[in-house]
């Protein structure tokens, strides 16, 4: 079982490394986006899949971080070594504020995060002297660290791939840590966690800030890929899509949000090439997921494996 998993990971890594030379610039660009939005979906799932909190404001951290990097690099010619950390810092500071939403639960938490998201979108949209309004901030360069500079989308693809692998490995440790286990305990029974001595609101607040920091990191990767940022990055649909990516792929896992991002972005790219109402197709996919595969693609894979495994046991 574990060997099978290792083989699968090696094949996936080899495919990811070979992609730019094998598939060309179109696919390289699309898969880069899948990595970046998969990371955003992973940050949403940190709260959704582990702590049971459904946040619809993660586009805020993503966009604030992207805007910070863009404005610093383009207007003030700040180098990447300072601009990128500043972006993560700005998004994380916002998460420290928005994290106060963990005082609420359930539908109230969802509503408050929607409202927060609209505030950020409104600022990006209307404060045009600073944010550039609808046009946003354009001409963001590739990242450069001193003499080491990214000069092509292929190079950037490898940088994002490395970042995703590091984040995935770190996330794996986090999931198994006492803190991560505590989040799963809160999702299962908050009252029991309190009687065991956990200050559950503080636990959830810390998770919210961590999740916001990860979304901010995705925002940094996004703005260097996209070369510009406008209010669309902060908009409600981005938050919703990030959550849906996690759900389609499978919540509470690491690979799930990335699979979900691949499905959502891949399907949209394909369907929109021949069908104008592509958003309706996406809606149908989400409805089908919730109705028939609430555990997402990871859940489907698990069910298939269970069936296949049983069949193998029966035939000696």
């Amino acid at each position: 079982m574990d060997r099978g998993r290792a083989v699968l990971a090696a094949v996936a890594l080899a495919a990811a490394l070979a992609l730019p030379s094998a598939a060309g610039p179109f696919w390289t660009g699309l898969v880069t986006q899948m990595y970046i939005f998969g990371l955003l979906a992973l940050s949403v799932d940190l709260l959704l899949g582990h702590a049971g909190l459904f946040s619809l404001t993660h586009a805020s951290f993503f966009a604030v971080s992207a805007y910070t990097v863009a404005i610093l690099q383009v207007r003030y010619a700040v180098p990447t070594a300072l601009a990128a950390p500043a972006g993560i810092l700005a998004g994380t500071l916002l998460a420290l504020l928005f994290g106060l939403a963990v005082r609420t639960r359930g539908v109230y938490f969802i509503l408050i995060t929607i409202a927060f998201g609209y505030v950020v979108w409104g600022v990006a949209h209307r404060w045009s002297s600073f944010t550039g309004g609808d046009n946003g901030v354009t001409n963001v360069p590739f990242p450069a660290l001193g003499a080491a500079a990214i000069t092509s989308h292929t190079q950037y693809y490898y940088l994002v791939l490395a970042a995703v692998i590091v984040c995935g490995l770190g996330y794996r440790v986090f999931m198994r840590s006492p803190f991560g286990l505590g989040l799963r305990g809160i999702k299962a029974s908050e009252s029991r966690m309190q009687s065991l001595g956990f200050r559950t609101s503080a636990h959830l607040y810390a998770a919210f800030v961590l999740s916001g920091a990860l979304a901010s990191f995705a925002g940094v990767l996004y703005v260097y890929y996209n070369k510009f940022v406008n209010p669309v990055a902060a908009s409600f649909p981005v938050s919703v899509e990030a959550a849906l990516m996690a759900i389609v792929g499978g919540t509470g896992t690491i690979i799930g949000p990335f699979l979900g991002a691949a499905v959502v972005l891949g399907l949209r790219n394909w369907v929109s090439s021949f069908f104008e109402l592509h958003a309706a197709v996406m809606g149908a996919v989400f409805i089908a997921t919730v109705l028939w595969a609430p555990q997402g693609l990871v859940g489907i894979a698990g069910r298939l494996r269970a069936r296949f495994g049983k069949a193998k046991e029966r035939t000696p």
Partner: protein, 248 residues
């Protein structure tokens, strides 16, 4: 440290117009085993909730080893030595029995904030969890999810969770509720074997279990204490019989 483990002063809890707990005062000595009895709706569980901090009392004080804890949150009271079980089984169904206990073990220390090391790296936590499962009769079950074990076994897990918060005062809310006679006997034996330095407060309907374990018994009726005494006194008391069996 005073000799009194727990003191409850004129505690009341009002829901809307109903006084579920109506001016209850209790004093439990360190090491004592106190059982609360009373008919359904007497306010026993509400009193427990107010003492452990699950609910905020409308008025009154709760003092733990001489320290006023009335305004403290539940997790702080746990840190000061209150542990509890719930009347309605409250464990983590999606986690394994071992993970359930690991949470109970780190809940009262700083390791609960660690996020750079896997829980399994803490060998002492694993060892303590396995020992604890063995003690409550769940040896060899550490890797099973709690949702797959029987109801009786979940009650045993419930007890193990409470014991791993290092309680000085342990609150057991009907630990035998819904169990078969054999399971009932097993749980009450486990409770009887607890070290005497743990002060025990227990709600129990089963008179044999209750009166067998108790040093002293407090009888609640309609939110008030109607009697406090030794098991024999309670057994002989006409008013208690009245409350339990109705008027002749």
């Amino acid at each position: 440290m005073s000799n009194t483990a727990l003191e409850v002063g004129a505690l009341a809890k009002v829901f809307g117009g109903l006084a579920a707990v109506d001016g209850v005062s209790l004093k439990v000595a360190a090491g004592e085993r106190r059982v609360l009895i009373g008919p359904n709706g007497a306010g026993k569980t509400t009193l427990f909730h107010c003492i452990t901090g699950t609910l905020k009392p409308t008025s009154g004080q709760v003092t733990l080893f001489g320290r006023d804890v009335t305004r403290l949150a539940e997790y702080s009271r746990t840190a000061l030595g209150m542990g509890r079980t719930f009347q309605i089984t409250n464990v983590f169904p999606d986690l394994t029995l071992g993970e359930n206990l690991a949470l109970a073990i780190v809940g009262t220390d700083r390791r609960k904030w660690v996020l750079h090391r896997p829980m399994q790296a803490y060998a002492d936590v694993r060892r303590q969890a396995l020992e604890s499962l063995e003690r409550v009769g769940l040896a060899g079950r550490a890797d099973q999810p709690a949702k797959l074990v029987s109801y009786g076994e979940r009650r045993q897990l419930e007890l193990a969770l409470a014991l791993n918060t290092r309680p000085k005062v342990l609150f057991l809310d009907e630990p035998c509720a819904g169990l078969s006679p054999a399971e009932r006997q097993r749980i009450s034996q486990m409770i009887g074997e607890l070290p005497r330095d743990i002060t025990l407060l227990m709600i129990e309907h089963d008179m044999d279990v209750a009166l067998g374990l108790a040093d002293r018994v407090t009888v609640l009726h309609q939110g008030r204490v109607i009697l406090e005494g030794s098991p024999d006194e309670v057994r002989a008391n006409a008013q208690v019989r009245d409350v339990y069996f109705g008027h002749a």
